[in-house]
């Protein structure tokens, strides 16, 4: 059931004007069962380290298997178990039919796109994990950096390191953006740790982990937007607007600054009488209006 027509785009930093195409990569590590399926013949051959995989050949991994491919520009694609993917013949796209991939493109190299069925995801200069059900379900986890994920219907959401967003099969909208424990994820991820050498972006990921852990240790997490209390306090404080003269109740204000008395009625005040209907407040001083 190919209902996965989501176009999820993760954009970070600036797009270099000219980027080398990402149409091939070399196996730099293989764990267990990894096959390369020739697009022309559909014949599957076991993959091997140093073997170059070119578009549009498929890479297919078996259970508990994984592989790492490195492009000439050092863009790294790590492939999880039970995954089927290929490079697109043009541009910098990876076609993820199902399974999971970790994608890291060094800053300034042009990033890349991760497609799922008829859809795609793109990333520039950051590290993320994308997993796909093959039936329209889609998940994006950001390991470091920031980015915005956009659906083809125009809906978008912003992610920072340690955040996750997903689209369930047969749905056309995001689920909630969730903050996840990045340290637990990184420590337990085969895509991060299941290879003989570390990711080049691991120091950046560790920085994100440490930052999140600091906030957890303090008992709170940093808000990316404006704290709610910032505006609450000044917009309506104890039942009154807090800007301008309305800072104080208008009648209380007039206890201090009463309306003026006309000059021709000052004489009454001097005789200890009040002009009819005159409300001088309680301050004991009133302004005399101009003639």
């Amino acid at each position: 059931m190919k209902s996965n027509l989501f176009l999820v785009t993760l954009l970070c930093a600036c797009v270099p004007a000219l980027a080398a195409p990402l149409t091939e990569s070399t196996f730099t590590e293989i764990v267990k069962e990894v096959n390369v399926v020739a697009a022309a013949t559909k014949a599957a051959q076991p993959g091997a380290v140093n073997q170059v995989v070119k578009a549009p050949d498929l890479v297919r991994t078996g259970p508990a298997s994984r592989a790492e491919l490195t492009a000439p520009d050092q863009t790294i694609t790590r492939v999880g178990a039970n995954t089927v993917f290929s490079f697109e013949p043009v541009g910098r796209d990876i076609n993820l039919e199902k399974g999971s991939v970790l994608f890291h493109s060094p800053a300034g190299k042009g990033g890349g796109s991760i497609r799922s069925g008829g859809a795609a995801a793109a990333v520039l200069g950051t590290t993320l994990i994308v997993s796909s059900t093959g039936t329209g379900g889609f998940k994006v986890i950001l390991l470091e950096g920031k980015g915005t994920v956009t659906l083809p219907n125009g809906k978008s959401t912003t992610l920072k390191a340690g955040q996750l967003v997903f689209v369930l099969p047969r749905q056309t909208d995001f689920g909630p953006v969730l903050d996840i424990n990045l340290k637990k994820l990184v420590d337990g991820s085969q895509l991060v740790n299941g290879f003989s050498h570390p990711l080049p972006s691991l120091p950046l990921i560790r920085t994100s982990v440490n930052k999140q852990y600091d906030e957890i240790a303090k008992g709170h997490m940093e808000d990316t937007g404006m704290p709610p209390e910032t505006f609450g306090k000044k917009s309506l404080r104890r039942g009154q607007s807090a800007n301008g003269v309305n800072t104080i109740d208008n009648t209380s204000y007039q206890a201090a600054l009463s309306p003026s008395v006309p000059p021709n009625q000052v004489g009454l005040l001097q005789q200890g009488e009040l002009p009819p209907g005159f409300l001088p407040g309680s301050r004991g001083i009133v302004v005399i209006s101009p003639k």
């Binding site: 340690g162 937007g225 404006m226 917009s235 104080i248 001083i285």
Partner: protein, 359 residues
């Protein structure tokens, strides 16, 4: 024209159709991006602290890694200290119907409160507070205008004099002890509270007015996407007011003049609507409209009902977590069914700075 009923009807009609307005605490909460996301997460219910994000397919976690959801917790605090200053221009300092006096006005506020982090209560959160606030109202800092004033004296005759004075003779300050409770659940929140306030002249700190104010309110927020929200609400109070009674001595005798009967007990009922539009990660534009009905229950001049209609626009810029600046304009119009009360129009506009710390 003192056709109060028609004004009341017209104002409520305006309120019903005005889409560009007003004020409230939790409105900004609705428009904060991250808060919205978390709200959606909380609405989802199952994604609580320590739970896991849904696994899209079997064994996804083994490759991707465990996805334990974190719930953002607000930092717990007990106290709140706030300082605010706003400098503005007003075209009608004395709130008069005619002969408007222009002036610049500095309003300085400091506040300290015991305001602990809200507690979970009855399916929502309960936020108590108790504190003290002091405000200074200083007029004519830049304006050197002088005005003629009549100052009541305690006698003997003459009981008062006419003088030419600078506007700062009207400087006053306000001391308020307040306590309150706010219960919030979802987009609703309800308030009750009590204030004791007194006003003093700044020159000699002589009290001339005090009031005891039980108050209550209810409001609801409506979010429009991630960047806009509307809040509508009601706020009410009853003011047990105690103005100073001016005593005038004439000759050898004494006359106690009830010169300020309409400073006495009254009740206010305010309807407000505030719109918050997030312009960027640091700026919010906030138009508002509110209408306040005041019934004077102790008027010496017969029935008195006032209607104060206020509209304004404020632009808030968050400098950091603890500090923001703002620019604002407000327009007020008061109507009354009592001819003794001035029906005034008043405009003000200015800049403000707010600093707040919680610890």
């Amino acid at each position: 024209m003192k056709k109060f009923a028609s004004i009341l009807l017209g104002s409520f009609t305006l309120l019903a159709f005005d889409k560009t307005n007003a004020q409230i605490p939790d409105a900004a909460q609705q428009v904060d991006n991250s808060q919205q996301r978390r709200q959606r997460a909380e609405d989802a219910g199952v994604y609580l602290d320590g739970s896991s994000a849904p696994e899209l397919y079997p064994d996804e976690t083994s490759d991707v890694g465990p996805q334990t959801v974190l719930k953002t917790k607000p930092r717990h605090h007990l106290f709140e200290a706030m300082a605010d200053v706003q400098y503005m221009y007003t075209d009608n300092m004395f709130l008069t119907e005619n002969h408007h006096q222009k002036a610049d006005l500095l309003v300085s506020t400091v506040e300290f409160a015991l305001a602990p982090t809200p507690y979970d209560f009855a399916g929502g959160t309960l936020a108590p507070n108790i504190g003290y606030e002091h405000q200074w109202f200083d007029f004519g800092l830049a304006d050197k205008d002088r005005v003629n004033v009549f100052q009541f004296g305690a006698g003997p005759f003459p009981p008062g004099t006419v003088k030419s004075e600078h506007l700062n003779i009207f400087d006053f300050n306000s001391q308020t002890i307040f306590t309150g409770l706010r219960w919030t659940r979802g987009n609703w929140s309800a308030d009750i509270g009590f204030d004791f306030r007194r006003l003093l002249s700044t020159s000699d700190y002589r009290e001339f007015y005090k009031e005891y104010v039980p108050r209550w309110g209810l409001q609801r927020g409506f979010a429009f996407g991630d960047r806009a929200a509307l809040t509508v609400g009601y706020a009410g109070d009853y003011r047990f007011a105690d103005p100073k009674t001016l005593t005038v001595l004439l000759g050898g005798g004494s006359i106690t003049n009830q010169v300020n009967p309409d400073m006495r007990d009254r009740t206010d009922h305010t309807l407000f609507v505030t719109y918050n539009q997030v312009l960027c990660s640091h700026a919010v534009l906030q138009p508002y409209y509110q209408i306040k009905y005041t019934r004077f229950v102790d008027s010496a001049f017969g029935t008195r009902n006032d209607l104060l209609s206020s509209a304004g626009l404020a632009l808030y810029w968050t400098v950091c977590r603890n500090c923001d600046v703002r620019a604002f304009v407000d327009y007020n119009a008061r109507f009354s069914n009592n001819k003794s009360a001035s029906e005034y129009r008043q405009f003000d506009g200015g800049l403000g700075l707010n600093v707040i710390f919680r610890f």
